[in-house]
Symmetry: C2
């Protein structure tokens, strides 16, 4: 079976969407999507509120309660029958996220097992036939076919084949 390496945040989970909803509910500042284009969506929040965003990212429970990206569970349920899927998240910067991410994955994607989750700091030693990720620094050194998953912070990136949503992923991987 071919191996597909799939990122978590901004690909199957939506921390940016959750953070924006929380921010708009509690604060008044404007979110600047242009500033996200440096490669991190946290840069889009007003500078004076970035420490609050960071604090929330680091707190226990944040990654346990994230929304699931539309159609990702339905498409991955089918892909899981035809491919060897690994969910690989560069999560080690967020120690409180580790157990949260495991529990979140097994709740929303119950067809996966704990054997399919990898939490790391750096993806340069991960290989497979395909990788779907929203960060070019994860895709760059990968040995297989690379897909950039479209999100607000990578809209200006050129030179990668893109997947814009999970319906498109289904067309590519399930034919």
């Amino acid at each position: 079976m071919e191996r597909v390496i799939i990122d978590m945040d901004e690909v199957i989970a939506d921390p940016m969407g959750d953070m924006i909803a929380w921010y708009k509910k509690n604060y008044e500042g404007d979110i600047n999507y242009e500033k996200m284009l440096v490669g991190s969506w946290t840069k889009g929040f007003p500078e004076e509120h970035q420490p609050l965003v960071r604090e929330r990212l680091l707190s226990p429970g944040f990654f346990r309660n994230l929304p699931v990206m539309e159609d990702s569970a339905e498409v991955l349920r089918e892909m899981n029958k035809r491919y060897k899927i690994f969910i690989v998240s560069a999560a080690m910067e967020f120690p409180n996220s580790l157990k949260d991410k495991l529990e979140w994955l097994l709740e929303h994607f119950p067809f996966f097992t704990w054997k399919q989750l990898t939490l790391c700091g750096d993806k340069s030693h991960v290989y497979g036939d395909y990788m779907i990720d929203d960060h070019i620094w994860n895709l760059e050194g990968f040995n297989g076919k690379k897909y950039l998953y479209t999100t607000a912070h990578n809209l200006s990136v050129r030179g990668y084949d893109r997947i814009n949503n999970w319906k498109e992923a289904g067309e590519i991987f399930l034919g």
Copy 2:
């Protein structure tokens, strides 16, 4: 730089040694090292006490307080200057171990960063130039040079080059 993939339990950390010491202090049964040769050291404990061993393995804090394997920190401090080192642990079966393992590593091996730790369920998508591991199921599919790290449960395994202790690892990797 060449990549070296190094396992955690029974290689740089000593859960078996810690569990045996705890068991002898609290219980009377005999530990049967022959029974460990099926590939898991937990099988060496008397059957009636295996649920207690399992419960302790799963509890928060167990992996936070493990002894460090002799000479591993000194040798890895030097190897870390010459190789790209990743510590890769198949830890996902033990949800409470995840944060514990990160904190343990950064305490005892302060020259590593969080970027060098990978916690997974299955190592079949991890690659590099060398792998040091005590389980043949981790070594089997690996693309680079494999070393079996000797421990009680793998004494009967044949067909692998072995590293018996960290002094030997230093001779191989530091010359």
